[in-house]
């Protein structure tokens, strides 16, 4: 299987502390992957590196068939290359409607001039409605997103990610603070998305990871500790020692 994203030998330190230590990671074009690990394992820093927020001291981050290096590219440019990220806290534009949020995320020319004269076409509006249906917000299109529940905001943010039509989705703790029913739905949305693109989910919650039913990468001390199916990694003695045993 070809790889969509290849991270190899990446190291980054903050004030002498090695947050990421010679980390290597690969993912294919249509794959679901869960990344787990204790606090401080470097999960969020890993995402920061891929999305251009943090620049690694060493190593390579290569993207796509042409193996373009993402290091040094601006965040916005990396997004336009096809990497979408969902943050831990749901961050939607609270003063704007669901529709406005989704329209902003829609994959379109992002230059100021093009945006200034942009008028949503019928196809765009239909696309937004379709997205809203996927994330269960079809009835809430004209609602101000700040008025919605925590779970609905999480879905809206996932919807905004899908609207960008990225080839790789990075999702940070999507199930945090959700009710069991909301979790189930979130799982379904993510599994559906992973059929056509790569999805990386960072998660603490083992039950949620089990439901995703995918390959798992365990991070510890900024490096990969184990990789494989959930059953495989949970039997690994190292993993039990540093993470599950606690």
């Amino acid at each position: 299987m070809s790889t969509l994203l290849e991270v190899s030998g990446v190291t980054v330190s903050f004030d002498g502390f090695r947050a990421i230590n010679n980390l290597s990671f690969q993912i294919g074009p249509a794959e679901m992957r869960a990344v787990i690990g204790p606090n401080g394992a470097g999960k969020t820093t890993f995402m920061d590196i891929v999305t251009g927020k943090t620049r690694p001291d060493e190593g390579h981050v290569l993207w796509g068939e042409k193996s373009i290096s993402l290091i040094g590219m601006s965040e916005a440019k990396i997004v336009r290359a096809g990497i979408g990220r969902k943050f831990q806290k749901p961050t939607v534009f609270e003063e704007q409607t669901v529709q406005e949020n989704l329209l902003m995320a829609l994959r379109k020319d992002r230059g100021p001039l093009a945006v200034l004269i942009y008028k949503p076409s019928k196809a765009d509006l239909e696309h937004v409605v379709k997205l809203a249906e996927e994330i269960g917000l079809a009835d809430a299109l004209l609602r101000i997103s700040g008025e919605m529940s925590h779970g609905q905001k999480q879905w809206l943010e996932i919807g905004m990610l899908l609207a960008q039509d990225p080839r790789l989705l990075l999702v940070d703790e999507p199930a945090a603070g959700m009710t069991p029913a909301e979790r189930e739905k979130t799982t379904a949305i993510l599994v559906e998305a992973a059929k056509t693109r790569a999805v990386v989910v960072v998660e603490h919650d083992m039950e949620f990871v089990r439901r995703l039913n995918c390959k798992v990468t365990v991070l510890h001390g900024g490096a990969v500790l184990a990789e494989g199916s959930l059953d495989h990694v949970t039997k690994n003695q190292d993993v039990i020692d540093v993470y599950l045993g606690r």
């Binding site: 965040e75 534009f93 003063e95 704007q96 329209l103 945006v115 942009y118």
Partner: protein, 391 residues
């Protein structure tokens, strides 16, 4: 969603209608063309107020919508005034000089005329040479282009440097203060070529125009009203669509907009430059009505007042910026113009000229703490009441 933006923003039409009505009423009551109930100097005050409202609309775009608290937009306002002032002063002086030299025996050479104009304009700073920046002062068209271009280019360069380095929040505000302070200090120098602290004066006299000030004041009043109407329309259109969504997004969560793939810096730069151009136009209309411009006009305090007006009016709504600016600046000129009667308390006399600033400061604090939506919040309340909704 696909209706025209006017249909989606009925407040724009209401505003334009009220502005038109106001213009008509003032014209009818004016000395120049009407019954004379409104004095020429008050027409000028109203015209100047409209220009201040225009820069306030620009301020609302950059602060209220894009969330960038620029405390330097009066630099652009002043530059617009200087650009048009250069032509006004040059051309009027030239006509006077040509007329007086024509009485001589020999017809004057172009060099003699030029030297005499230079003497007239720059004698006050001990020079008679034309500085290089006056090279195009004889061309009205070019100087009018500079009204937009000079503030625009300054904003483009300054904004590019500041936004590219990701300077945000209070640091950006301080930087813009430094910019306007720097400009002001530079203009104070006689060597700046714009007559130092004397500034440019006599701007109320249009060269080659014999009409009385009562008429000229109305022309400028109309032009100011037109500029405000067009500026309001332009800014309302800019904030109505997806561009508005993006800049409001930048205000609320800059990083998130970046992670949607938008180049936040380009948007900030675009807004900064556009508002600088609008400010330049507002200044170019303001100073011929004021009659004089000097470096004190672009002192840092002016831009701070601008932020206070917009805050009191209610930022994030264009009509709020207009209401706040019109109200505060008119009340301000009433209090500081000596028209407000002093209050004698026996042991102490309240002189409004001194106390007005304290009043203004207190109301700013009050609005910030208790009425973040400012005066336009009251309008919201009335609209909701009239619709019979619960607040």
């Amino acid at each position: 969603m696909n209706r025209s933006f006017i249909a989606r923003n009925p407040s724009v039409l209401v505003f334009l209608a009220l502005l038109g009505l106001f213009t008509l009423v003032v014209s009818v009551l004016s000395e120049g063309f009407g019954v004379g109930l409104i004095s020429t100097s008050f027409v000028k005050t109203l015209g100047k107020t409209l220009c201040l409202c225009l820069i306030a609309v620009a301020m609302d775009l950059i602060w209220g919508y894009a969330g960038i608290l620029s405390l330097g937009h009066f630099a652009f306002f002043g530059l617009g005034g200087y650009m048009v002032g250069m032509w006004l002063m040059y051309e009027r002086t030239r006509q006077i000089v040509v007329n007086s030299l024509a009485e001589g025996v020999l017809p004057p050479t172009p060099e003699e005329i030029q030297a005499a104009i230079g003497n007239q304009i720059f004698g006050v700073v001990g020079s008679s040479e034309f500085p290089l920046i006056w090279f195009f002062a004889d061309s009205l068209v070019l100087q009018l282009a500079f009204v937009v271009l000079v503030p625009g280019v300054l904003a483009l360069v300054f904004g590019w440097l500041a936004f590219r380095s990701r300077v945000t929040g209070v640091y950006l505000s301080i930087l813009t203060q430094a910019m306007t302070l720097g400009l002001s200090l530079y203009l104070f120098q006689n060597a700046s070529g714009l007559r130092g602290n004397n500034g440019l004066s006599g701007l109320q006299n249009l060269p080659g125009v014999t009409a009385p000030q009562s008429a000229v004041s109305l022309w400028f009043f109309w032009a100011s009203a037109l500029a405000l109407g067009l500026g309001y329309l332009l800014v309302a259109w800019v904030v109505s669509g997806k561009f508005g969504s993006v800049i409001r997004g930048i205000r609320d969560n800059e990083a998130r907009v970046r992670f949607l793939g938008y180049s936040v810096e380009s948007y900030k730069l675009a807004v900064f430059t556009l508002t600088a151009c609008i400010a330049g136009i507002a200044g170019a209309l303001y100073y011929p009505q004021a009659g004089i411009i000097n470096p004190a006009e672009v002192a840092p305090i002016a831009s701070i007042y601008l932020a206070v007006w917009v805050a009191i009016g209610g930022r994030g709504r264009l009509y709020g910026a207009v209401i706040g600016t019109a109200f505060v600046s008119l009340v301000s000129s009433w209090f500081t113009g000596g028209q407000a009667p002093d209050v004698n308390l026996g042991f102490y006399t309240i002189k409004w000229v001194d106390w007005w600033l304290i009043l203004l400061g207190l109301s700013f604090v009050f609005v910030t703490l208790y009425a973040p939506r400012g005066m336009s919040g009251l309008i919201d309340l009335l609209v909701r009441k009239s619709r019979g909704e619960d607040t």
